[in-house]
């Protein structure tokens, strides 16, 4: 059964990829990429990687696709026919692929419990992390504690991307309420998209509630700061899409988002510095409390909070920047 599910998912993935290679409509390609992400998220579930599946579905199928669509608004949706020969790329790809296939021939068999990958480092995570860290989700234990520095690095990567996006695309400053009282008055009277706006407004509290659940339940089930941050961002993306960029900017000013993005990194890094000051190594949560296990708990909750804050504010801010570029005069249409 598992084999069947796996094979059919892989088959669908292959079809999607072939379609991406052959199609010329960028819009279709981007949508197919969303599908590809979703399918790979399903494969991740079939392969027991629930946390990864969650993230891939939220990030790949969600945020990446939304950003790509926003880009398409400015770039147009058709790829032009190229006169360039595809021989060289094909050659490179064939050689690389052949080398990989050749290498698989004596790779450890897929799914075999005796593979070396499972028996050097991973054993300890599985056997001892419930006692050492004291939380059931081993992925969270490894992510936040054993390999906590990787995760700090990853938060910084997200922060770096924000720096890049902000330097390339400026977020529009919204017209202040005082300047355009009439426009605001008008907008209150005539909702341009009544159905969508009402639905979005009803959904938003639940999305945020779900984000908070994912944030704080990450110790026990799939979830954690990244997923929560992405879901939180999605609530505001929904708001922006239905109410317009100006309203969204009034709700979450960019300066606040920027400060939060930096703040999240500092919360994470600050935890490390505090543990250093208390006599441990950087990011050693054991010293945060008299009891090592509760120290780990405190540390993980705090750093996950930092991750969530940074990811959410970076993604919202990046989305605003993209929308500013994609819909430059949206404010006037209102």
């Amino acid at each position: 059964m598992e084999l069947l599910v796996n094979i059919s998912l892989l088959f669908m993935l292959s079809l999607t990829v072939i379609a991406v290679v052959r199609l010329k409509s960028l819009f279709a390609i981007v949508m197919l990429f969303g599908i590809y992400s979703l399918l790979s998220a399903m494969i991740f579930i079939a392969l027991d990687a629930v946390d990864v599946a969650f993230t891939e579905a939220a990030v790949g199928a969600g945020i990446s696709t939304v950003l790509m669509l926003a880009t398409l608004v400015t770039t147009g949706r058709w790829e032009k026919k190229s006169s360039r020969s595809s021989f060289l790329p094909l050659l490179i790809v064939s050689i690389t692929g052949a080398a990989l296939v050749w290498g698989t021939l004596d790779m450890p068999e897929y799914g075999n419990p005796d593979n070396p990958a499972h028996h050097h480092v991973a054993d300890r995570y599985i056997e001892q992390s419930p006692e050492e860290i004291g939380i059931p989700n081993m992925v969270t234990s490894v992510l936040a504690s054993y390999r906590g520095f990787d995760t700090l690095g990853e938060v910084i990567v997200v922060f770096t991307a924000l720096i890049g996006v902000l330097s390339l695309l400026q977020v529009r400053t919204p017209p202040s309420v005082a300047e355009t009282p009439l426009r605001n008055e008008n907008r209150k009277l005539s909702r341009p998209y009544p159905v969508l706006q009402v639905v979005a407004l009803v959904m938003m509290p639940f999305i945020i509630l779900f984000a908070l659940y994912v944030q704080f339940h990450g110790d026990f089930g799939p979830g954690g700061g990244f997923q929560a941050g992405v879901i939180f961002a999605v609530a505001f993306i929904l708001y922006t899409l239905t109410y317009g960029l100006d309203d969204a900017l009034a709700l979450t000013p960019v300066s606040v988002l920027k400060a939060l993005a930096a703040g999240g990194v500092l919360i994470y890094g600050g935890t490390g510095v505090v543990s250093m000051l208390l006599g441990g190594n950087f990011l050693d949560y054991n010293v945060l409390s008299s009891n090592p296990v509760s120290g780990q708990h405190i540390g993980i909750i705090v750093i996950e909070l930092g991750v969530g804050i940074t990811v959410a504010s970076v993604l919202i801010c990046a989305f605003y920047a993209f929308m500013t570029r994609a819909l430059p005069d949206q404010g006037q249409k209102g």
Binding site: D106, P116, G148, T160, L166, A262, V265, G269
Partner: protein
Amino acid sequence: MIASHLPALQVVVPLLGAPFCFLLWRSPRLSWLLATLISWLTFAISIALLVTVNNSGTIEYAFGGWQAPWGIEYVVDQLNAFVLLIVSGIAAVVFPYSWISVQQEVELRQQSLFFTSMVLCLAGLLGITIAGDAFNLFVLLEISSLSTYTMISMGRDRRALTASFQYLIMGTIGATFIIIGVGILFMLTGSLNMQDLAQRIPELDQSRALHVAFGFLITGIGLKLAMFPLHLWLPNAYAYAPSAASAFIASTATKVAVYVMVRYLFSIFGVNFSFQTIHIQWLFVPVSLFAILFTSIVALFQRDIKRMLAYSSVAQIGYMLLGIGLFNVTGLTATLLHLFNHALMKGALFLAMGAVCYRIGNTFIDSMQGLGKQMPWTMAAFVIGGLSIVGVPLTTGFISKWVLIQAAVERGWWPVIIVIVVASLIAMMYIWRVIEAVYLQSRPENAKNVSEAPLSLLIPVWILALANLYFGANATLSSELAGNAAATLFSGTGF
């Protein structure tokens, strides 16, 4: 107490300094001051680390208190302490320089973002150098890469955007190749820790999958270090980036990539596997010889001096790979020495070009005609850097070329020596073109008269220029460091 945390602080200080730089977005001056402070602090830390390593041997630092291989570990040995010193030293010179240069070349809105990117890039590069964990290296690599793309895209010319995009695509392909390689290594050994990998790889000797992992890692790192013919992103990226960014990236980023290459070849895969099973030298020697000649010739025909210097960088990377390919201790010493020396000379040259750009707005050879009289100090520093590239005695360039030639003599590979000499002649020609334009031709009538660059630009330029002369005349310190590191790497007890 602080002493035991030095390896972590080396990276954490810039890593956590960056958000503060960013928070000062209203005042670029403050964020520049903070960035400069951070760069000096990291320089101090790297000196302290080097001293400690020389006195008491390799330092290990376990993040989160989790011992390797379960946790992430930083390892500082003679090799990377040396590279850390290079990176942070260049940063400590370039960061103070950047203020005035950035004032002119980058929009006000982007300035504090530029300084933040620079700090992030510094953190990433230091992290790559110090990391003892293969996956952590990838994460820090991405920090440095993303911030580099950002800095390049801030150049004024619109071609900066395409250069940055091209680099983004090639860099990401490189990074993905690296994670494929690391993934296969993990599949075969179950570990990500470099020391641990180094112990477990010899047991797998003949595995095909190991060969594939090796190939992917070398290609990925090769993309990052602009190994010929994977260098196509480099010339545009260096030419169109803001001057301060060009100077910083050109003198550090590829060096760090060369370090990673050396680390993988010698410490992780081990000398036996890399050179006796795979025979990587038969790839490196011809490719680097061709690269040295070809890109030196291309450099001859560039009108933009920054671009010319970029091509010369690809050629210099060729020298470094050649040193690895010669496969003896002297050759590796030459590579490591050149790592240091090239950082000094390219830093000096790019900073001098930044000063020129500050005054005349571009770095085309025709606009620089007769500049020698109007900007005597800047151009003198340029000449010193240029002589160093050529390899004139009493400059650093001479030292590394000399050691490289010695290594080739040890091997008895005479054609290699001929190529080195010919390439030096070509280098002399392209540097001479600039000298001729600057000193022997007079300033065109219609060109505006300019004065010498301000002191805050000149001092960093001259620090590096004098360093070129000092380490050229008295190479004991640098050759000792490089020689020790090379000997350790070859003894197989690397780390």
